[in-house]
């Protein structure tokens, strides 16, 4: 098998993998609706709307000890 053929097979494999990954991600977003922290994805819009420095973060970063 020549290097060009290897490249072509590699290209097809990468294309299929990335397409499946992208659609799996879309499926995940719309079925689970929430991320691993339990926040509905739509809540994250509030990061722009409530962005004063005194506003409570949508998902607070745990403080380091």
């Amino acid at each position: 098998m020549s290097i060009a053929e290897l490249q072509a097979y590699g290209y097809v494999v990468a294309l299929v993998f990335l397409t499946v990954a992208l659609y799996a991600y879309i499926y995940h977003l719309y079925t689970k609706r929430k991320d691993s922290d339990g926040h509905d994805y739509e809540e994250y819009s509030n990061m722009a709307l409530k962005d004063d420095i005194t506003d409570t973060p949508v998902s607070e970063k745990p403080k380091k000890k």
Binding site: D37, M47, V58, K61
Partner: protein, 492 residues
């Protein structure tokens, strides 16, 4: 220690914002001069024969493209980053001395490098790679500037209070990573003086790629410079400024996430469409075309998400010229991301390539989408930077309509000119002889070149009105913090 409440620090934002307006006027003015030169070639010597070297089209063209892309747009992107970054991460730059130093170094080194670039381009010192004309010492300087920004992004993210990164931050990160990669690989070059043991100018270099390889790398870079300088950071801006100004949550945050990954997946492959019918492998050309057409989906995903964010609130579009700029910008984004893929189809490209239709396409994206979003971003930020209302709403509205008319004149004239050119170049008689010589097309195109110059002039006039409005805003009526929550306060 002082016991003052914590506030966002906009000193770096302010510097970049001023630079945006200044370079915007210069870059657009040069563009307008070029447009008039195209219509009336005698203007190539408008400062006399003695200075013709510095005023001719070929010397000024690169100054126009580079100052608008890397001066005007990048300054606006960085003004927005130093504003949005703090706000959505809920952390102030003032909390870290290091971040403040990095931010200021970022601006001042960038400002100094920009000045050197202007001088070197006017002197005709270039690598002759389109949109990457800077010689190797400047390429190294650009790398440092880019790394300073990257360090600032990483630092601000490291000390954030908000755990999740808002969608705009993702787009800024993508901009940083992609441009870093594009800049490094496209500018791999050998300084000839050092490579040859002392021949030629010390600053001169030659690309490490040659022939077809150089073309492939160049257009992988060139197209993705459009993607990651003129698209992703502008999406970052609209995802913050439109919801904030209108007080409306993004229509679908999930759609913003999948449009982001879709865009990342597809965009990097589309550059081959610049090399259709050239000596690059056929499959690269086909891939460039196919990925360009697929690119409609993620592009429209973001644009439709923005339009739907105004659902039930369309009276705001009528009432606020600031929101008009963003909605028109988003519409132009949809329009140019449909037009681009159409031009990338091989049979269409056979007519469109090398014609003015491409210039028209570039400018309905650059003037309509990028320019309008930059204007909207600065109109939104200015009251918050100066704690004052925008000086004049009616001036802003007048600017909007003058610039919109300018864009329409620009792209319609370039459509007609481009398709006319494409058809005339192909036309032949029954024996296969070309029906027209090149000068025949130039004569036919003259009126359209004039219309384009008028359109560009209108856009520049609008931009000067904008600069005046922002200048007057710095001394307009002072406002309370409560007036700055969503819709920006505007004087009559």
């Amino acid at each position: 220690m002082e016991d003052r409440p914590l506030e966002y620090d906009y000193s770096v934002t302010r510097l970049f914002m001023m630079n945006t307006i200044f370079v915007g006027i210069v870059g657009m003015l040069v563009g307008v001069i070029l447009a008039w030169q195209m219509a009336y070639p005698e203007l190539n010597t408008f400062l006399g024969e003695g200075l013709a070297e510095y005023t001719n089209f070929s010397r000024l063209r690169v100054l126009h493209t580079d100052s608008v892309i890397y001066g005007f747009v990048l300054s606006a992107v960085w003004a927005s980053w130093y504003y949005i970054g703090q706000r959505v991460l809920k952390v102030s730059m003032a909390e870290s001395r290091t971040l403040m130093i990095l931010g200021k170094l970022h601006f001042w080194i960038y400002f100094a490098a920009s000045a050197i670039i202007v001088v070197s381009l006017l002197m005709g010192i270039t690598t002759s790679k389109e949109y990457a004309e800077f010689e190797w010492p400047l390429d190294l300087g650009i790398t440092i500037i880019w790394l300073l920004w990257g360090a600032g992004i990483a630092g601000l993210i490291a000390i954030r209070r908000e755990k999740t990164l808002y969608i705009s931050i993702w787009y800024f990160i993508a901009t940083f990573l992609a441009v870093a990669m594009l800049h490094l690989f496209n500018n791999l070059e050998i300084p000839t003086y050092f490579g040859s043991g002392g021949i030629g100018a010390w600053y001169h270099s030659v690309s490490m790629y040659a022939g077809t390889n150089d073309a492939l790398v160049q257009w992988w870079f060139g197209h993705n410079a459009v993607a990651f300088v003129l698209t992703t950071p502008i999406i970052a801006m609209i995802y913050y400024f439109l919801p904030k100004e209108s007080g409306q949550a993004i229509y679908s945050y999930k759609l913003s996430l999948l449009a982001f990954w879709g865009l990342m997946f597809v965009y990097l492959w589309a550059g081959g469409h610049h090399l259709l019918y050239s000596t690059v492998p056929d499959w690269v050309q086909t891939m460039g075309s196919v990925f360009s057409v697929i690119l409609i989906l993620p592009s429209w995903g973001s644009a439709i998400n923005m339009l739907l964010t105004m659902k039930g609130e369309w009276q705001q579009v009528a009432a606020s010229p600031l929101i008009k700029f963003m909605i028109m910008g988003s519409t132009f984004y949809m329009f140019s991301t449909l037009e681009g893929p159409i031009q990338a189809i091989k049979s269409v490209n056979a007519i469109a390539h090398f014609t003015d239709w491409i210039i028209g396409h570039v400018h309905d994206g650059a003037l309509g989408w990028v320019g309008f979003m930059v204007v909207a971003a600065i109109y939104h930020m200015a009251p918050r930077l100066f704690n004052r209302e925008i000086y004049s709403k009616s001036l802003m509205a007048a600017q909007f309509w003058i610039q919109t008319l300018g864009i329409v004149l620009y792209f319609t004239s370039m459509w007609i000119a481009g398709i006319t050119q494409g058809m005339m170049w192909r036309a032949h008689d029954e024996f296969g002889n070309l029906a027209y010589s090149f000068i025949d097309t130039v004569e036919v195109l003259h009126p359209y070149f004039t219309i384009r110059a008028v359109g560009g002039t209108l856009y520049l006039i609008g931009f000067i009105m904008f600069a005046y409005n922002i200048y007057k805003t710095t001394s307009a009526r002072e406002v309370e913090a409560s007036e700055l929550q969503n819709a920006s306060p505007m004087g009559a």
